[in-house]
């Protein structure tokens, strides 16, 4: 598991202590990232967790498995930067963003963003913003393997044409 340097595992009891953001790139199931659940303080009235999961079908093809790969050193830095920027842009308490890499099957979670905030408006807005940033610029790639034996680099169709 690669964690952004200054948020490394400083947990106390069930709470992420001190830092307002954490970013995790991991080969393990996202259920194993406790920071995703342990955010929020009694100043926060809203708590929101988004998970992106592998779908069994994409563009009409049956998916057997995905393999995510990353430029890990940059991905954890970028993910952390996104969370940092979200804290500045929105009135939120804490943000934890995590992306899993390696092989995943349909139903498994590939990405998760947890946000706590005083109020729900900013909680939803920050969560959505981070997800869109991840989709837009996190250096992670997805090899999609289909049940018919074919496979593709998702999103690279135009480059390959």
């Amino acid at each position: 598991m690669t964690r952004s340097q200054d948020t490394r595992a400083r947990t106390e009891g069930a709470r992420l202590v001190g830092d307002r953001v954490a970013a995790v790139i991991t080969h393990c199931p996202l259920e194993t990232v406790p920071e995703l659940r342990d955010i929020g303080s009694t100043a926060d009235g809203a708590w929101l967790v988004f998970e992106g999961r592998v779908r069994e079908e994409n563009a009409g093809r049956r998916v057997r498995e995905l393999e995510y790969s990353a430029y890990e050193e940059m991905a954890v830095k970028e993910l952390r930067a996104m969370a940092d920027e979200a804290v500045v842009r929105f009135d939120v308490g804490q943000i934890v963003a995590a992306h899993r890499i390696g092989r995943l099957e349909p139903g498994m979670a590939s990405v998760a963003v947890a946000v706590s905030a005083p109020h729900r408006d900013t909680c939803y807005a920050a969560s959505r913003w981070v997800i869109e940033q991840i989709k837009d610029r996190l250096p992670i790639w997805k090899r999609e393997r289909y049940t018919d034996g074919s496979e593709d680099w998702v999103g690279s169709e135009e480059v390959q044409a």
Binding site: A70, Y71, P139
Partner: protein
């Protein structure tokens, strides 16, 4: 040549290029050291790479990160830079 860059003695510069995903397949390797004239930009590096086998289709507007930060095509390279070619991302 920018101040602070560590040029080779003959005035050229050497960078470490990293390939990922589709571009890694095209390159046939994940990492390659490339020597360029001093003052070379990201665009110069891409032109050089496109002349090598497998990388002919590398887009002119390929996204590039230098030392973990995205940069533009006119970014001036320095010796020992880590230059990553970023295929269309598909995180999430």
């Amino acid at each position: 040549m920018k101040e602070g860059s560590a040029a080779t003695s003959d005035g050229s510069l050497a960078v470490c290029v990293r390939f990922f995903a589709l571009y890694r397949e095209w390159a046939g390797e994940g990492k390659r050291y490339v020597t360029l004239p001093s003052g070379a930009s990201v665009a110069d590096l891409l032109a050089t790479l496109r002349a090598s086998p497998g990388l002919e289709r590398l887009p002119f507007d390929t996204k590039v990160a230098v030392n973990l930060d995205y940069v533009g095509a006119d970014h001036a390279l320095q010796s020992d830079d880590e230059v990553a070619l970023i295929p269309p991302v598909a995180g999430g």
